[in-house]
Symmetry: C2
Subunit: 113 residues, 2 copies
DNA sequence: TACATACTGAACCAGATGGTTCAGCATCAA
DNA sequence: TTGATGCTGAACCATCTGGTTCAGTATGTA
């Protein structure tokens, strides 16, 4: 069951693993923005911000369009559906395992069955 | 609004950004396992697997305990609650923005209001 | 005691990451 | 046409990552 092809989850989770990039997504949730606006907001060079936007765009979380000199960034097509469902599945497994553990502990403490 | 302190989300999302580590979590969801069992399952050296487990442990996703020579790995305290809620908030924002976009597009196509 | 097993730590490696500076190029405004 | 603005690409840098090998140490087992 080893996974050899890179999953799209790799890219999205990696994109989300950076506070600046999560901040950019939240910012874009409040409205579209140019590279320079984002760069100023996050106190970074244009080049640096462009790289972050590139990572987000690669992951499908941001879409950009250049008009004139200005490249406008907005939220992209990826809705994080697969990511959400992976995490939900994990949380269910976690609950099952820890419920089982709780039962074992309860048994150990009051084994009147 | 720039985030300077590293958020715990950084560590968990980074931990989830690797297919091997997601696989280890799924494996541990089916039952506890030693480092060597995991290493064999994912065709990797003990040292390599130990590093992955270290990353997961650091993120709170795995807990380990050494008894004798064997270090047993099990799911850790972190339930991915914050991660799930960050993603849910994002999905809601996304829906709002794209509903708004849809309305604009609908207006443009049939502006009879 | 002797040998195998299970892990551990240090060192190394290639490639990715998160930033920078610098030198362009295109576009808009005066 | 001149100058400011906005972005882009190349090059560089330090650090992190995902793996390895090799040389231990500790623990079981015969």
């Amino acid at each position: 069951m080893v996974q050899h092809q890179p999953s799209p989850l790799d890219g999205t989770f990696a994109a989300l693993a950076d506070a600046t990039r999560r901040g950019v997504l939240e910012q874009l949730g409040r409205g579209d923005a140019s590279i320079s606006v984002l760069a100023e907001r996050f106190q970074m060079t244009l080049t640096g911000m462009k790289k972050h936007v590139g990572v987000l765009e690669q992951a499908g979380l941001v879409r950009t369009e250049k008009v004139g000199r200005v490249r406008t960034c907005r939220l992209g097509p990826r809705r994080l559906a697969e990511e959400a469902s992976w995490i939900e599945r994990y949380r269910q497994t976690w609950d099952v395992r820890f419920d089982a553990l709780d039962q074992v502990l309860a048994q150990l403490q009051s084994p009147e069955s």
